[in-house]
């Protein structure tokens, strides 16, 4: 039975293409992302344990938690990299993310920034953005794709937002750590996502770079929903309205930064140490 299930899973990657495109994003009830009762275990260890989390449309949410709290696993589940053992993950009311592959989820409107900056290092900054741009990403269409003036404008607009206009012809591999992080955020913007998942955006950044990143992310909220996973408490304090604390794979507390900081449980597991 298990073998059969895996075979179907395997074949399905091919067949479910149109599912993503057909269901429109419905956020009429408020939340853009629903995680309900999500459990993921690795060899008995529960990385996520009956996790319930709702992200509202247009909000900027920070997620904090000690190492091993399940933050990255949660991102993996949302973006289709890891399949949960149980639970439901919905994007809007209608799109069941558990039925989609990574590229389909990206197409549906969820962009993800990795913990380590990952950009296409042998391409120029401009080319990085061009590749990330939402377009028909099927093989044959890509072979003959030409850059239109409108698309060029859009790339320049995003270059402006992330502050890399001067670097647009440089190879992405030659950028500084902070610039790579911004480029990656820029690449997410090119996809026109409704939801941005940003994993530790300021790790390894200088103070000024951190400040710029905070500005960038705050300016994105509203038009996009942004979920930031971060360790840097200063940074979280500077941008967050709502903070969710994860601990041992579940939500420990949720609320404003002040509420969360005064929550005795939170203090015990995380902030107090």
């Amino acid at each position: 039975m298990r073998g059969l299930k895996r075979l179907r899973e395997f074949v399905r990657r091919d067949l479910s293409r149109d599912v993503a495109a057909s269901a429109a994003l419905d956020t009429s009830h408020g939340p853009i992302l629903y995680l309900e009762g999500v459990t993921v275990s690795f060899d008995g260890f529960k990385a996520l344990n009956d996790l319930n989390l709702y992200i509202n449309d247009g909000e900027l949410r920070c997620i904090i938690g000690p190492n091993g709290a399940g933050k990255t696993t949660m991102m993996d589940v949302i973006t289709g990299k890891t399949r949960p053992d149980s639970g439901a993950v919905y994007f809007g009311q209608l799109i069941d993310l558990l039925k989609l592959s990574e590229p389909e989820i990206a197409e549906a409107g969820i962009g993800r920034k990795f913990q380590r900056p990952t950009v296409f290092e042998s391409h120029s900054v401009f080319e990085n953005l061009r590749l990330a741009m939402s377009a028909n990403k099927a093989v044959w269409a890509t072979l003959t794709a030409q850059l239109s003036g409108q698309q060029r404008d859009r790339i320049e607009e995003v270059l402006d937002i992330i502050g890399l206009v001067g670097e647009m012809h440089r190879n992405a591999g030659l950028l500084s750590h902070g610039q790579k992080q911004w480029l990656e955020i820029g690449m997410l913007l090119m996809q026109n996502p409704r939801l941005l998942l940003v994993d530790e955006p300021v790790a390894g950044m200088t103070l000024q770079e951190t400040e710029r990143t905070a500005e960038l992310l705050t300016s994105l909220a509203g038009r996009h929903s942004v979920v930031v996973v971060e360790h840097d408490m200063e940074f979280v304090r500077s941008i967050a309205k709502t903070v969710t604390v994860l601990h041992e794979g579940r939500v420990l507390a949720e609320g404003s930064m002040a509420d969360v900081q005064n929550n005795p449980e939170v203090v015990e597991v995380y902030l107090g140490e």
Partner: protein
């Protein structure tokens, strides 16, 4: 940098332009020196040399095919000779059918080895190979189909890196063992040989040899242009992106497995065409062509020339094979050692191959001359070098 979709892909391609010019010059000179210059003139090129050059061009085409998947998409196939051999067998089957009743046993339809095995009739998979167009179709379809089925499973299961290399190696090894068996109906370990003519032209005549040489040169040039078109298109950029950070490409919304599969199939088809051109020139195809060693040698050609440049692969194939011809004549026992040493040296000291070395020299000279100059063209060269 920009321009029409057709002219765009040869701009900024110095190496490729040089390679195509040399190829054109050779394609004009070789037939003249062989056919028009009298045999006693010192300028005369022997038919042996023409065939040897034709063989090199087939290897160069094969190397080009590998560079497309390895250099640009990061798929290190250690079984690419399998596609080459399959294309070769398809052509060999046509050539066998052309022998007709001129075989040793004089059977009107069955090739000699089938008569020898007491077979009464042609196996079904030999039907149709008496027609040239059908054989050509099979030259493309068989390697392409194998690559498709193999790639479909491998890429969908996300087999990458060294694991993929190992299973491609297993693929070619398995095919070699299968083709060694007499019951397979492909001539067992003797393979297919004793060809007489192709499309009615005798394979022994100088003109046919020159014709095959020219066909190889044209195929190489055409394949180069096709590959160049691919790698300079947006699709080519996506392939490089997949090579560098597969996960990012996937989360940006590209179906990585489809891209890999596409490149792998195109590459296999090119390899099959190379094999089909190779067989009439060398006059034999046997299971030895499936040998894993051949595929590894192929990787060395590309590594020596410089991967991820296309023309580097062509140059590497020509250079290493010339060296091989020289060594196996001068000191046969030393060749494998030389090959091994070459691979080690290139890996250690020339990670970008000979082409990378030359480009670096050129960049140094240029940046010495005009220090402050930066621009699109410069950037492009850089991108090419780091690719």
């Amino acid at each position: 940098m920009r321009g029409g979709p057709i002219t765009r892909f040869l701009l900024n391609d110095r190496g490729g332009t040089i390679m195509l010019s040399v190829l054109l010059a050779v394609a004009v000179l070789v037939p003249v020196l062989n056919l028009a210059v009298p045999a006693d003139s010192p300028l005369h090129l022997s038919t042996y040399t023409v065939t040897l050059l034709g063989k090199y061009l087939c290897y160069a085409l094969l190397a080009l095919a590998l560079d497309l998947v390895w250099g640009y998409c990061g798929i290190l196939s250690l079984g690419h000779a399998a596609f080459f051999a399959l294309g070769g067998y398809a052509m060999g089957m046509y050539l066998m059918r052309q022998i007709g009743s001129r075989g040793v046993y004089g059977h009107p339809e069955l090739p000699d080895f089938m008569v020898f095995l007491n077979w009464q009739e042609l196996p079904w998979y030999w039907l149709g190979f008496d027609m040239f167009w059908f054989a050509l179709l099979m030259v493309i379809v068989v390697p392409g189909l194998l690559a498709f089925v193999f790639g479909w499973f491998a890429f969908r299961s996300r087999v990458t890196g060294v694991y993929l290399s190992i299973i491609t190696q297993a693929l070619t090894y398995a095919l070699m063992l299968a083709f060694f068996r007499n019951e397979m109906g492909f001539g067992g370990n003797n393979g297919l040989t004793d060809f007489k003519d192709i499309l009615g032209f005798s394979l022994q005549s100088d003109a046919t040899r020159v014709g095959l040489f020219l066909a190889s040169a044209i195929a190489l040039a055409a394949a180069y242009l096709i590959c160049r078109f691919i790698v300079t298109s947006k699709l080519g950029r996506v392939l490089i992106a997949i090579r560098d950070t597969e996960d990012r490409a996937r989360f940006v919304g590209y179906r990585v497995e489809n891209y890999k599969l596409w490149a792998f199939v195109v590459s296999a088809v090119l390899a099959g065409i190379a094999g089909a051109l190779y067989v009439p020139q060398v006059g034999i195809i046997n299971p030895g062509e499936f040998s894993p060693l051949n595929s590894i040698e192929l990787v060395i050609w590309v590594a020596v020339g410089g991967r991820g440049t296309l023309y580097g692969a062509v140059a590497g194939a020509l250079l290493v094979n010339y060296a091989k011809t020289y060594f196996t004549g001068a000191m046969p026992e030393a060749w494998l050692f030389a090959l091994g040493a070459l691979f080690v040296l290139v890996t250690l000291f020339l990670p970008r191959g000979i082409v990378g070395l030359l480009n670096r020299r050129r960049m140094k000279r240029q940046s010495g001359r005009h220090d402050a100059q930066t621009g699109a063209a410069h950037d492009d060269q850089h991108a090419e070098q780091s690719a």
